[in-house]
Each structure stands twice: as C-alpha cells, then as structure tokens.
C-alpha cells in the first residue's frame, strides 16, 4: 500500500521535476518556481499581513527547495511538501522577528502603508465612495485580526480558508493530528470572531 502511494507520487510531474533538479538540471527549477511562486507569496503575505518581506522570504524558500532537491523523496504531493517548508519558514521568520524585537507597529503592517498598492490605487479617503472606504477598513481589520492570532492558528486558517487545503493536507503541513487541526481552526475562527466583534464588524 505504502509502495503504491510512493509510485503514485513519483509519477507526479512536479516530483519528476524535483528528480531532474536533484540530478543537477538547474533549468528544470524555473518552471517549478513559475508554477508555485504565487501560492508561496500569497501564503506568506496572508500569514505576515505585510507585503514587505514577501519576495525575500519566497526567494529563501525556493532556495531551500533547490538545496533539498538532491535528497528529496516524494512521500506526498509536492505542493504539500512545499507548504510545509513555507509554514516552517514563516514560523522561523516570526521567531527571529520576536527575538530581534523588531515588532513593527500593526498600523504599519497593513494597507495604510505607502508601499501597499491597494491604498495607492484607492487614493485619499474623502474622494472614495463610501463602500470602498468600508471595504478598506474591513480589509485592515481582517488582516489585523489574522496577524494577532497565535502562529499555528494563523497558519491553519490561511491554509484552510485562503489556500483551500483540506484538513488532511493541513495535518501533513503542520505535522499534527486531525483533531489538532479541528481544534486549531475552531479556536482561530472563535478568536477572529471575538476580535471582529470588538471592532463592530460582526
């Protein structure tokens, strides 16, 4: 049964590419990066709540993937393995941020910064239609609420709500049991509900 699964994953085209990369064919890495870069950056963006370090972190992640290609043995879908690397890298990033005490003010991490395209497009608040302002406020509140969740709850909700992973896939990414995932997601949603309630959004 296990062997069957292994064979199934071996025929996965992404795993085929990894095999070629592992044998030294660097060019085979480009299509893999092109295919998964949006997924990686979107996950980082939703997790960190800021577009600031997204590109750098994504590059580091793909570099890690490349270095791991030589000893990569497919035991699941390539994307699941990649999500696992993304999640661990995000956790490490958060830890190093805390360690260095570079705790950026939350107001600086969300749309409202000069580098955030959504605000640049929107322009000054007085000139925007009311519903556009509301949408912006809602986005800010949501990103703030998500960024205040504990690390694992936040990653679970990002993977489930935004990346569309199943419970089973999340167990593989976070390395925990099904009931842990259920509990992580329930606590994450309850926390979000409370935070949004305080801000009068629910």
């Amino acid at each position: 049964m296990v062997k069957e699964n292994k064979d199934k994953y071996l025929s996965d085209p992404d795993n085929e590419l990894m095999k070629r990369i592992g044998s030294g064919e660097i060019a085979a890495f480009k299509p893999l990066v092109e295919k998964y870069q949006r997924m990686v950056m979107a996950t980082i963006y939703r997790y960190t709540g800021s577009s600031h370090d997204v590109e750098d972190l994504a590059q580091e992640i793909f570099f890690k993937v490349f270095k791991a290609a030589k000893r990569y043995t497919p035991q699941a879908k390539f994307s699941t393995w990649l999500y696992r690397i993304v999640a661990n890298h995000c956790f490490n990033y958060r830890r190093s941020q805390k360690r260095d005490a570079i705790v950026t003010s939350l107001d600086h991490s969300f749309p409202g910064r000069e580098d955030e395209p959504s605000l640049q497009l929107a322009g000054p608040k007085e000139k925007q239609p009311e519903n556009q302002v509301q949408q912006q406020e809602l986005e800010t509140a949501l990103r703030r609420a998500i960024s205040e969740l504990p690390d694992r709850q936040r990653m679970a909700i990002v993977l489930y709500r935004f990346e569309g992973l199943s419970y089973k896939e999340i167990t593989k990414v976070l390395g925990c049991s099904l009931s842990s995932v259920e509990s992580l997601l329930f606590r994450a949603m309850t926390n979000l509900k409370e935070k949004l309630k305080k801000l009068d959004f629910t």
Partner: protein, 167 residues
C-alpha cells in the same frame, strides 16, 4: 457543554466550508435546529467566515523565478568545495559524525593535556614533595603509642616495632 454540542462545534468549521460528508452535515443541521446556543455560535462563525472571504483573493506579486535562479547560480559559485563538504556532512547521521569528531579529538587532546599539566603543575609538585618530607621528619614516633591494649592499632604498632628491632 453537552456532548453533542462539543461534537458539533468541533465540526462547525468544516460544516461552514461544506467539507463534511452528507450524513454528518445533516446531523449537524438537525442539532442546530434544536440547540439555540450552537445555532448562535454557527451564525456568528458564518459571518466571520464570510467576512474573511471579502479579503481580495489575489495580489499582484512579481515574477521571482529569474531572481531565484540568479541566486542559485551566485551561491553555487561560492566555494564549491566547502559547500559540497557541508552537504555531505549533513547527509551523515549526526551520531556517527559526532563519534568521529570525538575519536579524532582524543589523541591531540591527550597530548596537549599532558604537556599542559606538566608545564603548569611542575612547581606545585615540587613544593608538595618538600612539605611531605618536612612533615615526615617532624612527626614524633610516640603518636602511635596511645592505642588501647589489644586494639588493632596497638597490635599493628607492636608488630612493626618488633620487626624493626629484629632488623
């Protein structure tokens, strides 16, 4: 919290995302119709769930594939010998590697330790020997004469003094 409520809450998020099997979803629906507390919880969570859906799905991210490949080429040119070595080392299981380091460290460690010991403790040993000689010379011999008769100490002192007299 009642047991069925606990069970329902555990499955509520999957229920909101329509990821539950039909049978389970129906069970939850039935429970929600009969339990006002769970129904309220479900409504609030559904609202939060829907609000999350209002975050824009995509953002325009730049293409980083060329940057990644450039970095790979750049890093690949950096001291390939040491990089290869480090990669090989990471493949060796950690316990085997630490054992190897341990055994390699024993000969130089022993040599270095011995030399350092003699270099640093030579003067200390000389002074210790002097103290021992002085102490032995100054020690009065009758200090052993106070053992009670038939005690082991007394017998020993008598035997030693007899043998020295015989000599």
């Amino acid at each position: 919290m009642k047991r069925p409520c606990k069970k329902v809450k555990k499955n509520l998020i999957a229920f909101l995302n329509h990821q539950l099997e039909e049978g389970k979803a129906k069970e939850i629906e039935q429970h929600l119709n009969s339990c006002s507390l769970c129904k309220k919880e479900e409504e609030e969570l559904r609202l939060t769930w829907n609000l999350l859906g209002r975050l824009p799905i995509d953002k325009d991210f730049p293409d980083i594939s060329n940057g990644v490949l450039e970095r790979i080429n750049r890093e690949g040119q950096k001291s390939p010998f040491f990089q290869g070595l480090i990669e090989k080392i990471t493949l060796i299981p950690a316990p085997a590697f630490s054992l190897l380091i341990f055994f390699l460290a024993i000969p130089p460690g022993t040599l270095l330790g011995k030399n350092l010991y003699f270099a640093l403790s030579g003067s200390y040993h000389a002074s210790l020997r002097e103290t021992q000689i002085v102490y032995a010379e100054e020690l009065p011999l009758d200090v052993f004469g106070d053992f009670p008769g038939q005690s082991l100490g007394n017998i020993y002192v008598n035997l030693v003094s007899e043998s020295s007299e015989e000599e």
